[in-house]
Symmetry: C2
Subunit: 166 residues, 2 copies
């Protein structure tokens, strides 16, 4: 990223964020795994723990993480085939949820299993052990299925269903 020409774009700015806590997950390495059933804890910095008040009445939470092991390389990641599969089209990084992005921000809606003194327990968080957490927000609503178009993903799923992808 740092080596790309700026082309006179005047808005380039570095902005600061801060870890409010960390993920404690049974998943230790950067593996491709099914995150759906994974249960993990988010341990908050003590100063932020009062901010959890009232969260326990929600079923789902939006977790914002800083994917500290990701590394964006424009030449490799700005446009690529999802998972490197030759059967997939070439897609821009903003049309994918790949982890190597200009800003390594993960946004995941997870099931809230519980709120504890130290933080929260959640299910389905796709972040390895030690990942910095930037924010938690209540999940309020989604886009109704019938109003959704899901681009290349819908195509890929349809092809997988027809046995064209293993």
């Amino acid at each position: 990223m740092a080596n790309s020409p700026r082309e006179g774009f005047v808005h380039e700015t570095e902005l600061m964020v801060r870890a409010i806590g960390r993920v404690e997950s049974p998943v230790q390495g950067t593996v491709d795994c099914d995150w759906g059933p994974v249960e993990s804890r988010i341990v908050l910095d003590p100063q932020y723990r009062p901010g959890l008040q009232g969260l326990d009445d929600f079923s789902h939470v939006v977790v914002v993480t800083y994917l500290h092991l990701a590394a964006f390389d424009a030449a490799r990641h700005l446009v690529r085939r999802p998972r490197g599969l030759a059967t997939m089209p070439e897609l821009g990084v903003f049309a994918q949820r790949a982890k190597d992005r200009p800003n390594p921000l993960g946004i995941t809606v997870v099931r809230l299993l519980g709120v504890a003194s130290y933080g929260v327990t959640v299910q389905g968080l796709d972040a390895i052990d030690g990942t910095p957490v930037l924010d938690l927000k209540p999940y309020l609503s989604g886009v109704p299925e019938e109003k959704l178009r899901r681009g290349w993903l819908a195509d890929a799923e349809a092809r997988r269903a027809r046995g064209m992808l293993s």
Copy 2:
């Protein structure tokens, strides 16, 4: 935030993010408005524009913004009543989507109106003109309505429906 005791929490770290573009919105000031119909543009830094490839097949996009005018003050914002309404319960910042948060990150699912050479046009983005944009991701799916519990918000909506809130 800076004045709070750290209590020996060893994970405190400052992390860097970078604007990939800016919001161009008809909404100029920090007003409370109905953002639903607002149409705005996200103008990307030229180096990132190839990353839009394939996004036009999606109906909705997750926009991550850096709410540059927000200012988190733990004494006022860590626990507060939504919109300062006496009729609302005291709630932690992580149980609300209030803009004054430990990290001023906005996450909004918007309708994608179009992809252009400079970036995208979207509807429903709750960010004022000039807001730095950190990321765009395709919106893939939501949590089904029947699996959702929405805590204090469901209560507040029910009370509003009964005329107890104006």
